[in-house]
Symmetry: C2
Subunit: 131 residues, 2 copies
DNA sequence: GGACATCTACGACGGGCGTCGTTGACTCTT
DNA sequence: AAGAGTCAACGACGCCCGTCGTAGATGTCC
């Protein structure tokens, strides 16, 4: 198999990944500035650089160094990462029960009617596919 | 407000909490042994003790020291903890979208027909209540 | 009452994470 | 060509987490 066992992104790394997923390939400076816009926390430039270097080493981002100013790009998909993280939490806190997770997700949000309808649609689609 | 801002349990702490939630008030030894049954990881006795002491300090477990052998009990509810953890992950990885979380939860599990029915039931109940 | 087991308490450490200062290379402007 | 700005690289630090060794107190058994 040997599929993939890329290390889970840490909190700070995930924040950076979210920028890359949204903006596409970016320089350190771009990531740094966009991060400022998103986060309340103020992260230094060199911190972001270091994080991106670490992430490159781990293989969760890819770096283009053809130009002097390097360009970074996410090397793992958002969906896959979400799945891995949710799977992990589900196992650790919900005894592996997807039902419990959904229950909590519903109970927590002032889940808008729109959201509820969307979820129902998902459910239908999923059920049909399964059958 | 001032409700509560108890620190989030760490991974190892959460594993212990799960034992306490399931078994109710327990001694260190009991937790230690039950943990062995659940986990693949082999944790030393003093490690569990230390963890429980830390957790007591943080206020996420409560300790009865009336007897020589202390008895520990979870001080935060399972449901609340699940909610907090899921909320955190939802914000960090799903942009706060409950819908996305549900979508991932569904897509990941070979969600049994039984589970799907249960989820649908939850959805109905939730929708009715909201209306 | 001595030997042994059980339990809590204390302190230490190794690793990882997030943080940043500093340095040296490169580039641009004037 | 000098000075100012930008950038990647490196190393260090403080913190927290999980781990455990060891000590000391308390109980138990012959």
């Amino acid at each position: 198999m040997t599929t993939h066992a890329l290390p889970q992104p840490t909190r700070a790394e995930l924040a950076i990944l979210r920028v890359l997923w949204k903006q596409g390939p970016s320089t350190v400076r771009q990531v740094h500035e966009l991060l400022r816009g998103t986060q309340d926390k103020d992260t230094g430039y060199t911190t972001v650089l270091k994080l991106l270097q670490n992430m490159t080493e781990k293989g969760i981002v890819q770096r283009d160094e053809s130009e002097r100013t390097h360009v970074y790009e996410a090397a793992i998909s958002e969906t896959r990462t979400q799945r891995d993280l949710l799977r992990d939490l589900m196992d650790r806190a919900f005894g592996g029960s997807a039902t419990s997770v959904v229950a909590q997700a519903l109970s927590m949000k002032r889940a808008s009617a729109e959201e509820l309808a969307e979820i129902r649609r998902l459910l239908d689609a999923h059920e049909k596919r399964g059958k």
